[in-house]
Amino acid sequence: MKKHNNRKRGITVKSRSVISKKVVDYESDPFLVEKAQKAKEFLEKHGLPPDFIKK
């Protein structure tokens, strides 16, 4: 199996194949959508740290 060149980082990230051939649409996964919306609401309420705001 082809491996990405991440060994120097001690990280093993393999290419997509073999284990699951199912294509999953994570972008519209209800859990992820809801969680991201809650994150947005949290940051709208409390704001980003000032040093995280790009000028």
């Binding site: 990280i11 972008e27 940051l43 980003l48």
Partner: protein, 165 residues
Amino acid sequence: MYIRVAEMNHDHYHLFRRTAYTYEFYSDGPKGKIRKAVNFKRKCVSNQKFFNLGFGDWDEKTNSIADKIITNNKDRDKVLATVAVAVLDFITNYPDEIIFATGSTDSRTRLYQMSLARILPEVKDFFTIKGFVDGKWEFFEKGRNYEAFILKARKKLNKFGNEKA
């Protein structure tokens, strides 16, 4: 940016990148192999882009991710280390981006906190990590109970691991 985290020696599972923003791995323990997914979902607040970290088990019954399942596969630390590695890989690929994370329950948030505390010595030079507590953001410290976390790359590094001029 190319982050050298060779000293990141925490035991973790092999990660499979499924999409630009999604990784999968398989927890392996007494309950068998359990498919897990880590996703970074792009959102925007006040014209500032950020990515929300989503993580959970793949539920074959609902064909969706569920993060309220208690897997109990006796590999909690290895799973959390793998999520941390996914974060490192993501921020390496998208060094200008901000990652926001919170658990779906207080106990899950605490797990994220423990994972961050564990890897903090290795990554603190590379990332600015803040936690939200008592109504404000502060630099992440061990032993504090935060409601949410946010992180971004601190340094721009070249592929040799040296800081860019």
